[in-house]
Amino acid sequence: MPDRVYLDNSATTQVARAVVDAMAPYFDVRYGNASSLHSFGQEARHAVEESRESMADSLGVRADEIVFTSGATEADNLAIVGAALARSGGGGHVIASKVEHDAVLRAVEWLQPMGFAVTLADVDGTGRVDPETVRAALRKDTFLVSIMAGNNEIGTLEPIAEIGRICRERGVLFHTDAVQALGKVDLPMDSVDLLAASAHKLHGPKGVGFLYARRGTRLVPLTHGGGHERGLRSGTENVPAIVGFAAALRLALAERDEVTARMWRLRRRIIDRVLRMPGTRLNGHPEDSLPHITNFSFAGIEGESLVMKLDEAGIAASTGSACSSPNLEPSHVLVAIGVPLSMAHGSLRISTGRDTTDADVERLLDVLPRVVGELRAMSPFKVGE
């Protein structure tokens, strides 16, 4: 196969060479258990704590507010379920949005039969949660609000600083899933109590994430054992991955202006060209967005076959199409922003990374009209005839 073009960076990213290099010694040279007393253990402990401090510094938080986890799903669960279980007396009310990642939606759903009430806030046509919607949904017994920083399917940024302020005024914990936003946009750490992120979305390794938990936030751990991570997350630290996460974040922040400026330029070009094709719509917000995620719908065709056709042409992207879900239900995000169901099935998510070039995007834009045309020729629903 000729060079493949990877435009699925919101699924995962290529681990940067500098990150691989930073991790390497912790597999076979400094391989100690960070809990061990001897020098091997001390080396590992030092690496973990140095990583924690480096990440905390760049976020402007304290090192002891960072809890390493196996990824953002675990961090989201620890934030939501951990905060719920820490409620004395049990029960209470949680607010999330309809466009949250499944890690948040399934976690709040899981709380329901445990006696917790859940409100899922509506979003507007671009996927944005109005802070006033959150304010209006607050109840006396609301203890947690969880609204993502930037949407993983459509890229829309949420007004988390404002929502966080509203929560703070009312003494309600505010959690944000910042998986796609970390390293791309400024995070208003002053306004959040809990924040989940993972390494593999920013050119770091899979299998590591963190939960930022503001000092004084009461959480009940979900894993029990050796009392690692201040008792919040038992389990031997994944030392190479933690080192890799810190290296990836350092790299992302060092290159941020340059990389996100390029991503914006590419995104604007993609939007301009795709919307010139008949029967297309942009899902999300044209400007108030993460720079790397762009989502479209194509009338008359189905997303999974579009992804397969692009793959055949050497281009990797993804879809929120229903065809990969058990009940053929299209993406809950596209449904929540009011994409007609017929078009929700024909969605394509294009997500760029730090290495995406103009040539990569040109190749996509060359191939896309052809494959869309081929699939429309097969479809009973004709567009632009």
Binding site: N327, L328, E329, P330, A336, L341, M378
Partner: protein
């Protein structure tokens, strides 16, 4: 996830496109569920006077499996007598493709249904007797499609402010 055969049919589908002069068409699926199949047949009498499916073609909106099963069912039906074609099952379609992921099995059902509906329409147009099994299948397919539309109506009309996790309808 998909067999080579599925990918092969998806990449190079057989008998694709609308037929200019067709005897009947079977229309199944629902765009709201993400797959729709229209299958055209032209029925002719062969040298021995039997009615055969002289030509088949299709138009499909759907995933890789939906397109591959459309292609496969058209291959299976072409040149067959009506009786033989009626007997083509979703199992046959899936098996000929070397199997489908469990989640995609309904696509093979859709393809077999489209063929069966096309034959039903042909026999009805011709004023022929409809075999009992074909009649039952037709009623079943129509009932399923009506149920889905009703379910989606609820889905589309639902009050989004209720603040409960959406319960989307199941198409399978």
């Amino acid at each position: 996830m998909y067999t080579e055969k599925v990918i092969e049919h998806f990449r190079h589908p057989h008998n694709m496109g609308k037929m200019k002069e067709y005897s009947a068409v079977g229309r199944v699926g629902n765009i709201l569920c993400g797959d729709v199949m229209w299958l055209y047949i032209r029925v002719e009498r062969d040298a021995t006077g039997r009615e055969v499916i002289a030509d088949v073609s299709w138009e499909t909106f759907g995933c890789t499996a939906a397109i591959a099963t459309s292609s496969m069912v058209s291959d299976l039906a072409k040149g067959r007598t009506l009786e033989e074609a009626i007997a083509i099952s979703n199992r046959d379609v899936a098996n000929q493709l070397g199997g489908l992921p469990p989640i995609k099995m309904h696509c093979s059902g859709l393809a077999a249904d489209a063929l069966s509906e096309a034959i039903y329409e042909y026999l009805t147009k011709e004023g022929r007797d409809i075999p009992a099994a074909l009649q039952a299948r037709h009623e079943h397919i129509q009932k399923d499609m009506a149920t889905l539309e009703e379910r989606y109506k609820v889905f589309l009309d639902r009050d989004p402010s209720k603040g409960k996790t959406d319960e989307a309808p199941s198409c399978s």
